[in-house]
Symmetry: C2
Subunit: 487 residues, 2 copies
Amino acid sequence: MTPNSTMLGDLSPDEFRAAAHAAVDWIAEYLEHPGTVPVRSRVHPGAVRAALPESAPAHGEPLAHMLQDLRDIIMPGITHWNHPGFFAYFANSASYPGILGELLAAGINANGMLWITSPAVTELEQLSLDWLRQLMGLGEGWFGQITDTASVSTFYALAAAREMAGYDIRLRGMAGRAELPRLRVYCSEHAHSSIDKAVIALGLGHDNLVKIPADESFRMRPEALAAAIAADVAAGFHPMAVVPCVGTTSMTSVDPVRAVVRIAREHGCWVHVDAAYGGVTAIVPEMRHFMDGTDDADSFVVNPHKWLFTPMDCSVLYTKHPDALRRAFAVLPEYLLTRNDDDAVNLMDYGIQLGRRFRSLKLWMVMRAFGAEGLAERIRFHCELARDFAGMVHFEGGAWELTAPVTMSLVCFRYAPSGMPEADVARINAEIMERVNSMGRAYLSHTKVNGTYMLRLAIGNIRTDQSHVEVAWADLRTAAAAVMALP
Amino acid sequence: MTPNSTMLGDLSPDEFRAAAHAAVDWIAEYLEHPGTVPVRSRVHPGAVRAALPESAPAHGEPLAHMLQDLRDIIMPGITHWNHPGFFAYFANSASYPGILGELLAAGINANGMLWITSPAVTELEQLSLDWLRQLMGLGEGWFGQITDTASVSTFYALAAAREMAGYDIRLRGMAGRAELPRLRVYCSEHAHSSIDKAVIALGLGHDNLVKIPADESFRMRPEALAAAIAADVAAGFHPMAVVPCVGTTSMTSVDPVRAVVRIAREHGCWVHVDAAYGGVTAIVPEMRHFMDGTDDADSFVVNPHKWLFTPMDCSVLYTKHPDALRRAFAVLPEYLLTRNDDDAVNLMDYGIQLGRRFRSLKLWMVMRAFGAEGLAERIRFHCELARDFAGMVHFEGGAWELTAPVTMSLVCFRYAPSGMPEADVARINAEIMERVNSMGRAYLSHTKVNGTYMLRLAIGNIRTDQSHVEVAWADLRTAAAAVMALP
């Protein structure tokens, strides 16, 4: 058998060119008007899958058929994170330079598992992450690597902390060792579920994640942390790590990292700062204070794919102790040894993943295309929009109320008619949210904190401006009126 | 402050169109002649980084500058996985439909962390993975999810196995529990380092990964597995999981999965099949036997980004027990609850990662563009090329020898002059490999098995044909002659 001209995916280079140019035009058209479709998908569970064939075709099909299915079947099943009315969770936005970076990385398709398997992948990753560190005003000595998600970044950090706890867990494990104390991890009661997942996956036990009470502004209380650690030490437990958060998921509250570090240092605890969402505020000089104390921590995570206009996926784990990650993870089989192992970094040694996509290219292109001031300007603008929205809620008054301080670009609020029982307030706010989300012009999410149900309007999409926030507010008021008018 | 027209990455939609079309033309040109550059990068450590600015610019730069740096500085630092002479490790190749899928996914930039945050992301992922399961001739009842790498897929599988071992490790952890037996994991002595990493990360202890001796064809010996498990049971250990491999990294040997499953079942062990590279051979009817027994396992991993022409990254973890993954990983905070939690799958519940890129789009496009027969034809062709190359080595004879059976598309061989001590054979083969790799027309890697140093020529790139294999063979002979002529 010999290869033939139809073997490259049944595409000739010219067919690829034509299809890729058509795809570019389609994306450009889509992104020029991302607000003209309903932001939240309206399909029913199973509808997308049911509309497609149950099996792969026996023979190749023209790309045009796939693009047609993309338009007709898949796009209605997309919830548009690119929509300027996307205010749920935390935004991911795909800026133009980021999309170009992804396109180029897909074409190059290099795997930077070892330095030699594409030196530029390793070196551009290290350089871009050093650029980002500088943009955030942090000191030197931080080693960065890109992972797919903040959850994985945090998992790696706590794996390093476990290794540094000093019980030879890498080699001997934890089971069947009567002498091993319980290893304890501390975070705020408002910390993200990724901390829970990391502690569980590492085999530390969910019971050994201690949730520290927060103050009235939802910040971890340092004296409560100190007391919890002291009680654990007295009980014979080993305080292993503390995970303060800069920008909690529910309310973007900011834990007092500096105080946390001071307490942690007294007990030899690793400090990992979860700045997955909030870390990029440090690019804005007047907001840099949120990251105060992080330079004295052991590791932190920040996600350019959240609020730095870089397409999914791009999470960054920084650590002061890359050797701890190597001790936790490096395994060097013969088939991965190279002549450059002593004079270059092999990023496979710093985590579980071996294969490594050229993810830094898009981040590097975003930083260059926007520049430091361009990035700061956009983050600042989103925070201004959030304060504007909070002002609308506040000055409207009546049943509308803000439920958390507006620290960054997230506003927490709700509709709470005077004297209404909490269960009813929760019910009507859920109903208001569902009505707004069904209208298709804005998409919000919710949370519940200390029993208080509240709505979240999170701004971070690069295409959002004042008009979209006003639309969300109009739809919220319309929905509230409709819900209150129900019998 | 109001938004202005320069805020979208300093690009207007028309500028994006122009830059993206230019990028498409550049990729098309690159992929039309991927064999005209040296396959392995020739840069020295640090050279790429040193050629770029140390910090991000203060103000945005035109995209043309980045594309210029890409051509002049970054591309020389790329080792070309797209090059038809890439025979090192296992190939990753970016087929045209796969690149289009990546481009479209980057533009859409959906995050399928929950079903509702883009129903099509979850449903196309489940559908494509069911297509792939059918292509591989496997039975029903497999639940699939995409991760970034096989290492993460295997880690998830063993986390599920740990949870199913029944000691409430999720809640209570492993430390400080005297009653907990050591949890043991078994794999062949030739298993991949990702198994080591998973066992270490899970806190089981590297000492508790038992490497089972293999037979003369490098396949795990079932009777040795049975004996190891029996000895561990007698010692009070808990046999937790067995990880047979279909296509080992060093030599693509195939462990006897059916026999392994039978033994594992007697002890309640989870069986996870590492078919990261070799699994796709099941798409070829006459090679389907390699996966025999897998349908009775508990989980397996296969990587479309290895030998299924799908760009990085796309690893697939299949399991018969999705509930075990949920038990191992699911954490449901209020802010992630939705109205569809009871009637749709939220893929965040099956692993650590929360954010989820639209990775299935490229895989779905690859399967449609090639069709079942097109994929089988290409995999079959690569195996024929490997047999051809093995034939060249075998019939050349003299010092050239094959060092492992050719099961799939990998050939293990070396140059071993009669009577030369093993240390010298290793040295000259390393030197031959280095010379071939330096010539720039082929790129090979090596391994060492039972003290035997050998070279690996792995075929899997969609652009490789007979001529590239012949070039590699010519360069190997040239290099061997040169090395032997040295004083």
